[in-house]
Symmetry: C2
Subunit: 157 residues, 2 copies
């Protein structure tokens, strides 16, 4: 899984055209607007299909440790295929994003999940402080295990 | 080189803190605002250092063929390290971005280049039509040669 975490003043989106892999959505998810959110652009990868629970667990840990430092008011999971050239199946991606949404909610976060597989317009405002743009490669392995997942540092853009 | 091409209603940015790899900038580049631009988020990669002119040539061809379809009014080159985990040296990245800026200008485009190596706040509005978000992996090889560069298709986000 590749993620790009953006600490935002706001995010707004509107669904436009459906693609063949679009999830079915209720009216209330056709558009959305969020202030002071940590937006997690997420590309679920082939490898993640082997251990969905493990990768979700490490994603949650990453979001928690980022939000401990920036104190965003809510989390928005935004599916973003453009972050990887090794994507999972659409079904696996939707399942993993739903699991992450549920887990974050259980952890006490206010969380929203942007629809998968739709063309969307969006507006976003990134705050610009050093922790407001972070990219990560997240694997299912426990970071206390021998094999340590690749992880990039914060890089200025 | 990895690029993310976004057809925007607008892009605005403001430089915030410098990083150790920041390029020196004049006052007039400390912030910027652009309407109806094709914004090219760009991560220059290690491999690109072998043949900067070749990769710039293919980047220009990609931008031209995209803009033939969307007719944006201007091009904005936005350095974006988060698109790759195999980055070039900062010097190579700046040189390649400057070359691309010059070449686009020679081709008749109105073009701007956002400062490299600064933390920046930004606001962007993506139009949301099927060609408004494209990601590409661009290599120096000529696409008429035997070895064809990896290239991803448009994916809904
Ligand atoms: Mg603002």
């Amino acid at each position: 899984m590749r993620v790009l975490l953006i600490h935002t003043d706001y995010l707004k989106y509107k669904t436009k055209n459906k693609t063949p892999i679009a999830e079915e959505i209720e009216k209330d998810r056709e558009e959305g607007a969020f202030n002071e959110a940590l937006v997690v652009f997420t590309a679920v990868e082939k490898d993640d299909e082997k251990n969905p629970a493990g990768v979700v667990n490490n994603l949650i840990n990453e979001i928690k440790s980022t939000n401990d430092q920036i104190s965003a008011e809510k989390i928005v999971l935004y599916p973003y295929a453009h972050l990887s050239s090794s994507l999972s199946s659409p079904k696996a991606a939707i399942d993993i994003l739903k699991m992450a949404e549920d887990e974050l909610s259980v952890c006490g976060f206010e969380v929203s999940r942007v629809p998968f597989g739709w063309y969307k317009s969006f507006e976003i405002s990134c705050k610009g402080h050093p922790l407001s743009e972070l990219s990560r490669s997240i694997e299912a392995v426990d970071i206390t295990a021998d094999e340590i997942g690749e992880e990039e540092e914060s890089e200025p853009s």
